[in-house]
C-alpha cells in the first residue's frame, strides 16, 4: 500500500517537474517577447507619451499638439483625469430629482451646495459632521425648510459616484460627476419656481465652471464661499490635484456673492468687488461626556487637529516643551513622520471627534501653535470655536487677525509671548456669561442667518438689469 502511494507520488512529482519545465519554456518565450517589445520603437514612443501624463509645461503643449496633428491623439493631463467620469445619468436619477423638486416649499427656496466631503450615508447627520462649515450650514438651512441638493467632490475608494441619496427630508446628496450630467436639466426644471434659488460653491472643481455659468443664466444667486486659502495649500503641495488659480479667479469673477472666512481672504479677493465676511462657527453639541482622566502637569495644555508640518509649528512646541519640563502637552491627531517627541509631549493619536471633549476636560489651556504664513493667517480655524465651546482658554499663533477679538483667546507674536500666554491662560477662570454671549452668536445657526441675510441683499446689477429690469416690458 505504502509502495503504491510512493509510486503515485513519484509519478505526480515527475508530472509536476514536466509541468515546471513546460512553464519555464513558456516563461522564457514570454520574456523573449517582452524583451523584443521593450526594445521596439512603439514601446519607446509609448513610454515617452506616458511621461507626458500630467505634465503642465510648454513642452507638453508643444508635444501634445504635434501628437494630435500627427496621430490625432492628445496626452491626458490631471484635469482630464478629474473631469472624465464613467458616471451616467439614468432615468431613475432624473425621476429622483423631479420628485425632490416637486416638494420645494415656495418662499423657502432651494440651495445647491458644492462641497468636498460626502455626508456619511444614512438618514440624518452625525453630530461630529455638524462641526464642518458646509455640513453645519446645510443642516441649519434645511431646518429653515430650504431644500438642499448637496454635491460632493470627494473621490475616494468606496465612495459611490452614481447614486443619489436622501440625507434627510430636505437634503439630497450626489457626486459632482453625477450633478455635472444633470445640472442643466435640474436648473431648467426648477426655472418656473419663483423661489430663492442659490448655488453655493464651497469647494472648487473644474466642473464648477460650467455649473456656475449655467446657474447665472438661469438667474440663480451664485455664491462663492471662500473657506481657505486654496492657493497657499496648493503651493504647500496640498490639493494640487484640483486647484488652479485661473479656476478660482473665474469663479470669483462669475459668482454674484463672495463670502470669506477671514479678513486676509477678503482682502485677497476684494478686487472683484465686495467680499463679505462670515466666520466659521461650531455646533453646540451636548457636553455631558464623562472625563477620561489623563496625567496632569503643572500646566496641562492640548491641541487637536492637523499636525502636518506645513501648518503646525513643531519648533515652537518642542522648544517650549524643552524649557518647561513640568508642563504636559497632549496632541490629538495623526503624527507626521520624523518627529521625535519629548517626554512631556504625549500623542493620543487620532480620536473620534465625539471623544475630544472627554480628553480636553483635562487641559488647562488649548493651543493653536501654527506657523505664521499666508496659509495660516488666512484660515479661520474651526478649533478656536470648539475650544471655546469646551470652555478652554486658547493660546494661538498663526491665526486670522479677527480671532484677536474673541474672548479668552491670547494671540502671541513671538515664542516668548506664546509661553507667557500659556501661563496666563492656564490661570484664567472662564466666566460663563461672557463665553455664552460669544458662543450664542458663533454657532452655525447664527452663521446661516448671516449668510441668508447676505444672499437676500440682492444680485449684482448686471443680472438685475438683464433678468429683472422692467425696461422695455
Amino acid at each position: 500500500m505504502a509502495d503504491l502511494k510512493k509510486g503515485d507520488l513519484q509519478r505526480r512529482v515527475t508530472e509536476l517537474e514536466k509541468k515546471v519545465e513546460t512553464l519555464k519554456g513558456e516563461l522564457a518565450e514570454k520574456e523573449r517577447l517582452l524583451t523584443s517589445m521593450y526594445t521596439s520603437k512603439t514601446w519607446k514612443l509609448g513610454q515617452l507619451y506616458g511621461r507626458l501624463f500630467g505634465m503642465e509645461s510648454f513642452w507638453r503643449e508643444k508635444i501634445s499638439s504635434f501628437a494630435k496633428k500627427i496621430f490625432g491623439i492628445r496626452p491626458r493631463n490631471k484635469w482630464n483625469t478629474i473631469i472624465s467620469s464613467p458616471v451616467r445619468a439614468t432615468d431613475r436619477h432624473y425621476q429622483t430629482l423631479l420628485e425632490f423638486i416637486s416638494h420645494i416649499t415656495l418662499g423657502k427656496g432651494i440651495f445647491v451646495m458644492i462641497a468636498r466631503p460626502k455626508i456619511v450615508e444614512g438618514i440624518g447627520f452625525r453630530a461630529e459632521e455638524l462641526n464642518y462649515r458646509v455640513v453645519g450650514l446645510a443642516n441649519e438651512f434645511s431646518k429653515e425648510g430650504v431644500r438642499i441638493l448637496y454635491v460632493f467632490t470627494e473621490q475616494k475608494e468606496g465612495v459611490s459616484l452614481d447614486h443619489i441619496e436622501r440625507v434627510s427630508e430636505n437634503i439630497l446628496q450626489m457626486s459632482i460627476q453625477l450633478f455635472f450630467k444633470t445640472f442643466e436639466f435640474f436648473f431648467e426644471r426648477i426655472n418656473s419656481f419663483s423661489t430663492n434659488k442659490v448655488l453655493f460653491i464651497h469647494r472648487l472643481h473644474p466642473c464648477v465652471v460650467e455649473i456656475v455659468c449655467c446657474a447665472n443664466a438661469y438667474n440663480w444667486t451664485t455664491v462663492y464661499d471662500i473657506l481657505d486659502n486654496w492657493e497657499e495649500f496648493s503651493k504647500a503641495g496640498w490639493l494640487t490635484e484640483w486647484y488652479s488659480r485661473d479656476l478660482e479667479e473665474f469663479v470669483v469673477s462669475n459668482a454674484d456673492i463672495k463670502i470669506a472666512v477671514s479678513y486676509f481672504l477678503q482682502r485677497k479677493f476684494n478686487y472683484s468687488g465686495n467680499v463679505h465676511i462670515v466666520h466659521n462657527g461650531y455646533y453646540p453639541d451636548s457636553l455631558n461626556v464623562p472625563v477620561k482622566n489623563l496625567k496632569q502637569g503643572e500646566v496641562t495644555a492640548g491641541y487637536f487637529g492637523s499636525l502636518e508640518k506645513y501648518r503646525f509649528d513643531w519648533d515652537l512646541l518642542l522648544s517650549i516643551a524643552e524649557r518647561h519640563k513640568d508642563w504636559l502637552f497632549y496632541l490629538i491627531g495623526r503624527m507626521p513622520r520624523n518627529i521625535r517627541l519629548r517626554e512631556n509631549i504625549i500623542s493620543l493619536g487620532t480620536l473620534h471627534p465625539a471623544e475630544l471633549y472627554a480628553y480636553a476636560q483635562n487641559w488647562d489651556v488649548a493651543l493653536l501653535p501654527f506657523k505664521v504664513n499666508n496659509l495660516t493667517i488666512s484660515c479661520d480655524s474651526l478649533k478656536v470655536y470648539e475650544y471655546l465651546s469646551f470652555r478652554l482658554p486658547v493660546v494661538a499663533r498663526g491665526v486670522g487677525e479677527h480671532v484677536r477679538n474673541y474672548p479668552y483667546v491670547y494671540i502671541a507674536e513671538t515664542e516668548r509671548d506664546f509661553e507667557k500666554y500659556i501661563t496666563i491662560a492656564a490661570s484664567t477662570r472662564i466666566e460663563e456669561d461672557k463665553i455664552t454671549d460669544f458662543l450664542r452668536t458663533s454657532d452655525w445657526s447664527s452663521r446661516a442667518k448671516e449668510i441668508l441675510t447676505i444672499v437676500q441683499s440682492g444680485k449684482p446689477n448686471y443680472k438685475e438689469y438683464i433678468f429683472e429690469s422692467p425696461l422695455h416690458t
Binding site: W79, I83, F180, P206, C207, V209, E210, C213, C214, N216, A217, S244, D246, L247, E249, F250, V252, S253, N254, Y271, N461, Y462, Y465, I466, F467, S469, L471, H472
Partner: protein
C-alpha cells in the same frame, strides 16, 4: 397667401429669431406663415407667445402630408437640402424659394453641388455681400434670380429716446454667438485679456455655447486665459431677455463686440444697433456693408487684437463718437430693418412670384 418656412434646426440663434419676426410682420399684412423644422435645439420655446404653427418632423411622408394638406402658396427652404428631394416631387403649383442664410461654407455646399429643387423660383439672402458670396459659389442655376431681403429686428429692441442711466461701476462689453471657429470666440478672449491688462473698468460678458454639448469645454479656455480673469460667461440669455442685454451694454457705457469671420448679415449686430448699443466688429465685408464702413459701427482689423482693443477703447471713451455711431445705426435700422419694412419687401417679392 400662405407660406411654409422650412429649416433644418430650430435653434435659439439667427434663423429662428428671423422667422419669429417675419411671422409677426407677415401676419400684419394678412400673410399666413408656418414653420417646419427637422430638429428642435431649444428654439421652439422662443415661439411660445405666438400662435404660429410649428411642425417638428423628419419623416418625408409626414412632411408631404403637411405640405399637401395646407395648400401653401410658397415654400421657402432655408438651407435645408435634406428636403430638396421631397420638394422636387411637388407639382409646380407649389412655388419654391430657397433662402441661403448659413455663413458656414460646408453647410451651403449644396449650392456648389447644384442641389436646388427643380422648381426654385428665386434665391433670397439677407445682404448684398452675402448675395455676392453665393453668386460665386453656385455652380449651376445661374438663371435663378437672387433677391436681398434683410433680417428684421423686433420692435422690443428699438429704443425710443434716452433712458435713465443705471449706476454701473464698470463698462460691459458683450459678445454673443456660438463658440466656434467661425464666430472666432478665441479672439474675443484675447481681446478681453489685452483689455484687462490696460484698464480695470471694463468687463466682458460672453454669451453662447460650444457647438457640441457635454464635457467641460469651457474649463480649458479658462486655463489658457492669461492675466486676471475679467470676463463672465453665460451659456445663454433667455430669448425674452436678450434686448435687456444690449440695454445693459448701452447703459453701462460698454459696447457689443463681434469677432466673427463669417456672417450673412448678423442678427446680433442688428439688434445691438436697434438698441442704440455701439457695435464693434471685424472688417469682414458683410459688416462693412451693414456698418457702412464705420459710420454705423466701429470696425477693427480681424486678427489684430491691439487694433480691436484700441477700437473698443475709443468707443467706450469718446462720447461724441459713440453718440454719432449709435444715432446713425439707429436711423439705419428704422429706415431698413424694422419688421414692418422687411415684411413689405417680402410681400412685394411674394406677389411678384404669384
Amino acid at each position: 397667401m400662405k407660406v411654409l418656412f422650412i429649416h433644418r434646426h430650430c435653434g435659439v440663434g439667427g434663423v429662428s429669431t428671423v422667422i419669429r419676426s417675419r411671422y409677426v410682420g407677415l401676419k400684419q399684412l394678412g400673410i399666413e406663415a408656418d414653420y417646419l423644422f427637422l430638429n428642435d435645439y431649444g428654439g421652439k420655446k422662443i415661439f411660445s407667445d405666438l400662435d404660429i404653427r410649428l411642425y417638428q418632423l423628419k419623416d418625408h411622408n409626414e412632411i408631404a402630408k403637411i405640405i399637401y394638406g395646407n395648400t401653401y402658396d410658397f415654400i421657402s427652404s432655408i438651407d435645408c437640402p435634406e428636403l430638396h428631394g421631397l420638394l422636387n416631387t411637388l407639382p409646380h403649383t407649389f412655388k419654391i424659394l430657397c433662402e441661403v442664410h448659413t455663413p458656414y461654407p460646408d453647410q451651403r455646399a449644396y449650392l456648389k453641388k447644384a442641389d436646388l429643387p427643380s422648381g426654385t423660383r428665386c434665391i433670397v439672402t439677407p445682404s448684398e455681400t452675402f448675395k455676392e458670396i453665393i453668386r460665386n459659389e453656385r455652380s449651376a442655376f445661374r438663371d435663378i434670380p437672387i433677391h436681398v431681403i434683410p433680417n428684421p429686428v423686433e420692435e422690443r429692441f428699438l429704443v425710443d429716446g434716452d433712458h435713465v442711466k443705471e449706476p454701473f461701476n464698470k463698462k460691459y462689453v458683450g459678445w454673443i454667438g456660438r463658440l466656434d471657429k467661425m464666430k472666432n470666440y478665441q479672439e474675443g478672449l484675447k481681446i478681453a485679456e489685452e483689455c484687462a491688462a490696460f484698464r480695470d473698468d471694463v468687463e466682458f460678458i460672453f454669451v453662447g455655447r460650444f457647438p457640441s454639448g457635454g464635457g467641460t469645454q469651457l474649463f480649458p479656455q479658462i486655463l489658457k486665459f492669461k492675466g486676471r480673469t475679467k470676463f463672465k460667461w453665460l451659456p445663454f440669455i433667455p430669448h425674452q431677455d436678450v434686448h435687456r442685454f444690449y440695454g445693459l451694454l448701452r447703459e453701462s457705457g460698454g459696447c457689443y463686440l463681434s469677432t466673427s469671420l463669417g456672417e450673412n448679415q448678423s442678427c446680433a449686430a442688428l439688434e445691438s444697433m436697434a438698441s442704440k448699443c455701439p457695435v464693434v466688429t471685424t472688417d469682414i465685408e458683410v459688416f462693412k456693408e451693414l456698418l457702412e464702413d464705420g459710420r454705423c459701427g466701429s470696425i477693427y482689423k480681424s486678427g489684430n487684437v491691439r487694433d480691436a482693443v484700441d477700437t473698443i477703447n475709443k468707443i467706450l471713451d469718446d462720447r461724441v463718437l459713440r453718440d454719432a455711431i449709435t444715432d446713425s445705426a439707429y436711423t439705419k435700422v428704422l429706415e431698413r430693418f424694422t419688421v414692418e419694412k422687411v415684411s413689405l419687401k417680402w410681400e412685394k417679392l411674394l406677389k411678384s412670384l404669384e
